[in-house]
Amino acid sequence: MASRDDIKFLNNPNIGQQRKKYCRFKKYGIKYIDYKDPDFLLQFINEQGKLLPRRITGNSLKYQRKVAQAVKRARHLAMLPYVADLLK
């Protein structure tokens, strides 16, 4: 009997698979999100300066709330823009 390893596929079967999303804060044990670090927060906003949804960043709800809070604080202190074009 041929096992699954013996079967040769014409196309790579792994290509269409979605990579599992994960929360980077949980994974790396980051407990505090600094609102004074705009370079770090830049990863969680799009080029218009809007917050990216969890379905894109993969953050857990707990840390998404903290990210949102930190971004809003950074905006107040003019470290991040409220409105922008071509931020990245």
């Binding site: 609102y35 670090d37 705009p38 990863q43 993969g58 003019a78």
Partner: protein, 141 residues
């Protein structure tokens, strides 16, 4: 004892001596009200993300302090609101992780430019801890 952190922006269009004395006046105000100053940091002149009062830069200061009496925060904020030299301020209560983070930052444990792997990082590479992966990235470069 609770830990707080107050960040404020000073107008850069002022005489140098005045800019230097503004943080001290607020530190004195805090010390006079029985606050324990953990750390006072001058983050320096920075470009603003949007203009405030027709200024495009400001001098950032950040003070971490401990106090039992939260009434001092109202006093501080009132004083800052009345002070035209302060463009913005923000007071934040720090949780234990925030205190730890600030202590680590002062000890230099947190690199200045944080290298966080992007969401698209392959799984086997991402299983390494943050610092190890960031250092290996630098080696590759």
């Amino acid at each position: 004892m609770r830990n707080y952190e107050i960040t404020f922006l000073i107008d850069p269009v002022l005489p140098k001596e005045e800019i230097a004395t503004i943080p001290d006046t607020y530190l004195d105000l805090m010390k006079g009200a029985n606050c324990k100053i953990v750390h006072a940091d001058r983050l320096g002149l920075k470009q603003l993300a949007y203009p405030i009062n027709k200024r495009t830069t400001a001098i950032y200061h950040c003070v971490e302090f401990q106090t039992d009496d939260s009434a001092i925060i109202d006093k501080m904020e009132l004083a800052m609101r009345r002070d035209e030299r302060i463009m913005r301020f923000l007071t934040v209560k720090l949780d234990k992780y925030g205190v730890q983070y600030n202590a680590d930052k002062r000890a230099g444990k947190i690199p200045r430019k944080r290298e966080e792997p992007k969401a698209e990082v392959p799984v086997e590479r991402a299983s390494a801890p943050t610092q190890a992966s960031s250092s290996s990235k630098q080696e590759e470069e």
